[in-house]
């Protein structure tokens, strides 16, 4: 037992006790405790195991820099790898340490440390090659990793991100940040202040200080009160995790009830970075023993939680900050010896023993620290060793804002160099550690930090000096990297894994860098700086996902008549981003789809084609513009008529097909595929603005304004007449008419995607339901059937009509689809024309053909037509579409085939998933090649 509870500690409520479990052991705590403070108070030293050597590890710090004190929080909401220094102690919390087999206290893998000499940094690159890495990998993987996921438990719940703007964002609510926020708010600026801690105050929460006669902590609380009165938004438990382009700062604000921290995307005119600094360790052998801690953390636990971390305490420091810790521990009765490594004349001036200029050579102890031996040889018994090797400013956001760091010898750290527009760094983050300098003229009484002595790991030191506690990296590993000439910062990091753990090297990067500098005879800045990749501390993945999950992720587009289709028993599938009926009824996909496709050709089919593109092109140059856009000449189309055509990419591939309707002389409707509406609208706009007089042609996408209801089949005209659209006798195929339905105009185009007589009725989307119901009601007399998308696919395939993207690929040109006229004869310029004349086009030519199965079974879609050339199979094409046709009572298929048109009637071999089947090349249109059904 080493840690103990004193009578101090302002953050804990002694009247409210609670308990939680750690590795199955019940730990008493008080309200206000963190898990770490409660564990320390009850004398628990070993709280984890090193991941590689399984050495016992205790807490190092008290905040987000903690490398050792990590555990899984178990329960219905499971959280792996939680830093116990940040986790509030709550009743019933269940924690399990990491890397302990079975517990941190008793780890049967601890023997690994005895083999440490054989498993230095990067040893895995040098071995496990014979016979094969696969043999070793599962074991190595099982050893690595920190905590566990629990597939049976919940993770973080969703939280909606927030966008915000302000004049000034202040990151860090320590003394510097509070003062800056107050000054900015008083100057009338809109300020947001955030801090990763639960309470504002930063170092004032644990370091003794008086400001204008007030206790530091009270001053902080008072300033926050002032800030709130001034309208400042104060976000606690909120970490500024990253700085992004154009002045964006990302914040993560902790939420209650298991929700993920909320992402704030803040754009501030100015960001003030007051994120403080993190204490570093000191290099001596066995500096990883439980009981070796940050001096600042020792003070933190004592003043905040009333937990003295030890009874016999040696404190070693390279700067003045540790004197606060020494005094405080001495005052509660601990036996304190302070080693001031700077030398100087402090010895004898303090109520505790001060030794100057004598660094620790080694810590002694087996499961926790028991003593230290100094360079002088003197042995000091101690149950706790608190160290301060100086502070490393948290300049992450400055660096991410493309700021260039500069080395400062005085504080032995990288500080912000040249200013970055919109970002100011202040306080400890800028290397200013003394409160009197941070709050000038405010009557500050606080100990001075003073300069920092450079005391870095040295080459060839005795024993194991630990740099990265979480990744188990020692000074010897850095020396090994140097020996093997992996001397750049990036190589050092990657080779030894220094700084790559969850703590991102907050305490370890700089000592490693300094040692490499020493080894290579360069200065630290010459050796390089570390990179600071976001996030500053780990942020749940769920925070970034926000509300984007389930139905809110890439939301499907929905039909105005969806509810009606559901009531009619439709099964829905997503087609090109739209949720559409795939078929109706409960008889199973195959039976229902076959039923629909058969019935539609016998009577009449009703299909909701609302997603069909309806992009209007309007203006005196509209015809000229569309001549350029389409592969086919469109200006010769007469008003009131429709024409089928292709639109190509500039590279010459088929981008979309569809019907163009000329409503009036200067007004067209581009009926593009439902999945291509966005792309087509974009393409039209780009070319309109690039190459045409914008005052003479405009684009207007009306797709969502209209519902389009398709009536197809031999009885379609009769049905429309029954509904009240007249005889439609004078409306030929590919022509336009108008009707009225309950006072609304209905645009009627006679176009067909089934090969049967068909009409497309476009009506205001909000009035479509009435028309659809009328069609269904009147349709009963004509054996009308509701058609889902799958049946429509069969109907169009029977006719050999294509679906772009299914029957075409990115190399398909219109000639491959049998449309050569414009390529050979058209005079004017059009999109993609020149590309059709590149040498590759002829070489890559294929033909869309029909493929007949020689058996009663449909051919496999996706099968390739193969030929054997020099003993090797070669693909000559593939099956793009395959169905069983209920109207032909046989399978039908289409495919792209090299030289297909010259091979009619030939038997070809198809390859599909290891099997071969035969097929006969046939015309692409299998049903009614004469087109009689169109007018039947």
């Amino acid at each position: 037992m080493s840690g103990w509870r004193t009578q101090s500690g302002w953050a804990v409520d002694r009247n409210q006790s609670l308990s939680f479990t750690f590795d199955g052991k019940t730990i008493p705590a008080m309200a206000g405790d963190t898990v770490a403070s409660a564990l320390l108070a009850s004398g628990n030293r070993i709280v984890g195991r090193g991941f590689k050597y399984h050495r016992p590890r205790g807490f190092w710090g008290a905040g987000s820099e903690e490398p050792n004190g990590i555990a899984d929080v178990q329960g219905t909401q499971h959280r792996p790898n939680v830093q116990m220094t940040l986790e509030p102690a709550t009743e019933g919390l269940r924690l399990r340490s990491i890397n302990g087999h079975p517990t941190a206290e008793h780890d049967r893998m601890a023997f690994l440390d005895r083999f440490a000499r054989f498993i230095p940094a990067a040893f895995y690159y040098k071995t496990f090659m014979l016979p094969d890495w696969h043999l070793f990998e599962p074991r190595i993987r099982a050893m690595a990793g920190l905590g566990r996921l629990d597939p049976a438990a919940q993770g973080f719940g969703p939280s909606a991100p927030v966008n915000a703007t302000c004049d000034v964002l202040v990151v860090g609510a320590g003394p510097a940040g509070l003062a800056a926020a107050r000054a900015e708010a008083k100057a009338g600026r809109k300020v947001i202040l955030c801090d990763e801690g639960a309470l504002p105050g930063g170092s004032l929460l644990f370091r003794p200080a008086r400001i204008n006669g007030q206790e530091g902590r009270d001053w902080a609380a008072a300033v926050v009160g002032e800030l709130r009165a001034l309208g400042v938004r104060v976000l606690s438990r909120t970490t500024a995790f990253g700085r992004y382009d154009h002045g964006l700062t990302g914040l993560a604000e902790a939420q209650a009830n298991g929700a993920a921290p909320r992402i704030w995307r803040i754009r501030a005119t100015e960001t003030i970075l007051a994120a403080g600094a993190i204490e570093r360790s000191l290099p001596f052998a066995n500096n990883d023993l439980p009981g070796v801690m940050s001096a600042e953390a020792g003070l933190h636990y004592l003043s905040r939680f009333g937990v003295a971390v030890g009874r016999r305490v040696v404190i070693a420091t390279t700067n003045g900050s540790a004197y606060d810790t020494a005094r405080a521990l001495h005052e509660v009765g601990a036996v304190v010896t302070l080693l001031d490594l700077r030398g100087g004349a402090e010895a004898g001036k303090h109520p505790f023993r001060v030794i100057t200029g004598q660094p620790i050579e080694t810590a002694l102890g087996r499961r926790q620290v028991e003593a230290v031996r100094l360079a002088s040889g003197e042995r000091l018994d101690a149950d706790t060793v608190l160290v301060s090797g100086g502070h490393t400013p948290s300049v992450h956001l400055y660096s991410q804002a493309q700021g260039k760091l500069r080395w400062d010898d005085g504080v032995q750290a990288f500080l912000p160099g040249a200013p970055v527009a919109g970002l100011r760094v202040i306080g400890a983050a800028a290397g200013v550690y003394d409160l009197a300098r941070i709050l000038p003229g405010q009557g500050v009484e606080a100990a001075a930090h003073g300069g920092t002595l450079a005391l870095w790991p040295r080459p060839r030191a005795k024993g194991r000096i630990w740099l990265d506690l979480q990744n188990d990296v020692t000074a010897k590993d850095v020396e090994l990297a140097h020996r093997e000439n992996l001397t750049s910062v990036e190589h050092l990091k990657r080779y030894t894994t220094l700084g790559m753990a969850n703590d991102q090297g907050k305490t370890s990067n700089l000592p490693g860098l300094a040692l490499m500098a020493e080894l290579t005879g360069r200065s630290i800045p010459e050796t390089g700086t570390t990179t600071y990749r976001p996030p500053f501390t780990p942020v749940p993945l769920a925070s970034f996902a926000g509300l984007r999950s389930g139905q809110l992720m890439n939301p499907v587009r929905r039909l105005p008549l969806e509810a009606e289709h559901r009531a009619d028993g439709a099964l829905f599938r997503e087609y090109g981003g739209w949720l559409r009926p795939a078929w109706y009824g409960t008889g199973g996909e195959t039976a229902e789809v076959q039923r629909e496709a058969r019935a539609a050709r016998q009577g009449v089919g009703l299909f909701d084609g609302s997603p069909l593109g309806k992009i209007e092109v309007i203006g005196p140059d509209a015809a000229k513009f569309l001549d350029f856009i389409y592969y086919n000449t469109m200006s010769t189309l007469k008003p009131g008529r429709c024409r089928y055509g292709f639109v190509l990419t500039e590279g010459g591939a088929v981008f979309d097909d569809g019907v163009l309707v000329r409503l009036e002389e200067n007004r067209f409707v581009v009926s593009c595929s439902s999945s291509h509406v966005q792309g087509m609208a974009l393409l039209l706009e780009e070319w309109r603005q690039d190459s045409f007089d914008r005052s003479r042609v405009v684009i207007h996408d009306t797709t969502a304004n209209y519902a389009t209801l398709t009536v197809t089949g031999p009885k379609s005209r009769d049905l429309l007449q029954a509904v009240g659209f007249g005889t439609l006798d004078d409306l030929p195929h590919m022509a336009l008419s108008y009707g009225q339905f309950e006072g609304d105009e209905v645009r009627i185009t006679r176009v067909s995607f089934t090969g049967d007589r068909s009409y497309e009725l476009s009506i205001r989307a909000d009035r479509a339901l009435g028309l659809w119901r009328r069609l269904k009601d009147a349709g009963r007399a004509f054996d009308a059937v509701l058609l889902g998308g799958e049946a429509l696919m069969i109907l169009r395939a029977e006719k050999g009509y294509i679906v772009v993207g299914k029957d075409t690929d990115g190399r398909t040109r219109p000639m491959d689809l049998g449309v050569r006229g414009p390529f050979e004869k058209r005079k004017g310029e059009y999109l993609g024309r020149r590309s059709l004349h590149l040498p590759a086009v002829a070489a890559q030519a294929r033909d869309l053909v029909g493929l007949e199965s020689l058996t009663p079974l449909p051919l496999p879609a996706g099968a390739h037509v193969v030929e054997t050339v020099a003993g090797k199979r070669r693909s000559r094409g593939f099956v793009t579409t395959s169905h069983y046709s209920p109207n032909l009572n046989r399978p039908i298929a289409m495919g792209l085939l090299e030289g297909g048109n010259t091979r009619m009637g030939e038997i070809v071999t198809l390859y599909h998933l290891g099997h071969e089947v035969q097929a006969r090349v046939a015309p692409v249109c299998a049903l009614d090649p004469e087109g009689r059904l169109l007018d039947a």
Partner: protein
């Protein structure tokens, strides 16, 4: 000095305090003249140097690297290795690469930790299943092992995937390539560097090319921050700098540079043992040997040389990931970063002589250069040794952007890569 790597030598050095290891490579002074100079000390450049020395016996080879070897996309990618390509030309290249990877650790005497844990591409609709069959058939015809999985097999293999009835993207099946997997990216660069160095290749780090030296319209070397270096042939394999060097050499390339982001979660114990990609969400993921989920997605939408991450793409990628793996809602993001990738119009690489005679290209890998390192090095070494194309590299000549013979895998099979 211990040079050979083996379990025995690690034990021997363990007894010796690890003090006898030889440097992995030298830090030589540049010579005035080389047979071949390769600009770019990433995986492609280092592999090329290795095969030049090993296969072609070229004596004087230098690799010039502006920063630190392996510091570009080789050290920033998500380490997936696969050869699930559609066109035979692509298959020839990428499957050669996979086959070379399979023995690379032993060949280089450096454990690159090739982990052939399979790669699964989720299929989310019946229509996509047909496209998936088209893809798998093409692979099998081209001699690459691949198969279709149905939903239940996907469920057995990746039980933590989202099979909920109301999942945004239902699982109909998957394309699975058994031999695909991941390798340790740094080890690939370092392994090639060490092996090339052992064969006498000079690796010149922190040496930046300032301009090309030309004589009679032919490239005869480079002026660098460490002086002029002349060579019979100069190769460049500089992802993220192709445009810049092309401009110095006086030509344009069919390349646009974009940021490709990646990120890792904090490490956890093994829970997921394949590589999985969903074209619907655009997210792919594997779990590293250290336990981190290594996560990637599509390109950023803004052309950039920024080499840094941002939020919009990260949010898209992670929302896709969590939709696929609800249990990952327990995980936290550890690091995000970006690399600059050189994207060609058909997303296939470029090999061959550049418009400046004497200067040869290996580039335009887009997001897929890492998996192609051994094959890219092999064919580029052939090109630099002989001045002519390797059989495999010929279809990837720059000239295809004049003739229109593009090799667009997305066009063929709908795979984003």
């Amino acid at each position: 000095m211990t040079r050979h790597y083996s379990a025995l030598s690690v034990i021997k050095e363990g007894l010796n305090g690890q003090k006898g290891w030889a440097p992995a490579w030298r830090s030589p002074k540049p010579a005035k003249q080389y047979d071949v100079v390769i600009i770019g000390g990433g995986g492609q450049g280092l592999a090329t140097a290795y095969y030049l020395a090993k296969t072609h016996g070229v004596k004087r080879v230098a690799v010039i690297e502006r920063g630190w070897l392996g510091g570009g996309n080789t050290g920033r990618n998500t380490t997936a290795i696969r050869s699930n390509y559609y066109y035979p030309e692509s298959t020839a290249l990428y499957d050669l690469s996979l086959r070379l990877y399979e023995t690379l650790g032993r060949e280089l005497n450096y454990n690159i930790m090739l982990s052939q844990r399979g790669m699964m591409q989720i299929v989310s609709s019946p229509g996509e299943m047909e496209m998936a069959a088209r893809q798998v058939n093409a692979m099998q015809i081209n001699g690459v092992e691949a198969r279709l999985m149905d939903r239940s097999e996907v469920q057995r293999r990746v039980p933590i995937f989202n099979f909920a009835p109301d999942a945004r993207y239902p699982v109909y099946g998957a394309i699975y390539q058994e031999r695909a997997g991941v390798a340790r990216h740094d080890a690939v660069a370092w392994g090639y560097a060490r092996a090339a160095d052992a064969l006498g290749v000079d690796i010149l780090q922190q040496c930046e090319v300032q301009e090309f030296l030309t004589e009679g319209g032919r490239c005869v070397g480079v002026a660098t921050s460490k002086g002029e270096i002349r060579a019979e042939r100069v190769g460049m394999a500089v992802a993220g700098s192709s445009g810049v060097l092309a401009a110095k050499a006086g030509f344009r390339l069919p390349i646009t540079s974009y940021t490709l982001q990646a990120c890792v979660s904090e490490p956890v114990k093994p829970i997921f043992d394949t590589v999985l990609v969903s074209p619907m969400t655009g997210t792919y993921v594997s779990q590293s040997d250290k336990g981190e989920m290594v996560i990637g997605g599509g390109l950023d939408r803004v052309p950039s040389y920024g080499q840094r991450g941002n939020l919009p793409q990260l949010e898209t990628v992670l929302s896709g990931l969590l939709e696929m793996f609800p249990v990952f809602r327990q995980l936290r993001l550890l690091r995000q970063w970006g690399g600059t990738v050189d994207v060609t119009p058909d997303s296939s690489p470029i090999f061959g002589e550049s418009p400046l005679p004497g200067l040869y290209l290996n580039g335009g890998w887009g997001t897929g250069g890492f998996k192609a390192i051994p094959a890219g090095g092999t064919v580029f070494a052939h090109i630099l040794a002989t001045g002519g194309h390797h059989e495999i590299s010929r279809p990837f000549d720059l000239n295809r952007f004049r003739t229109g013979h593009l090799l667009d895998e997305a066009a063929g099979a709908g795979i984003a890569h």
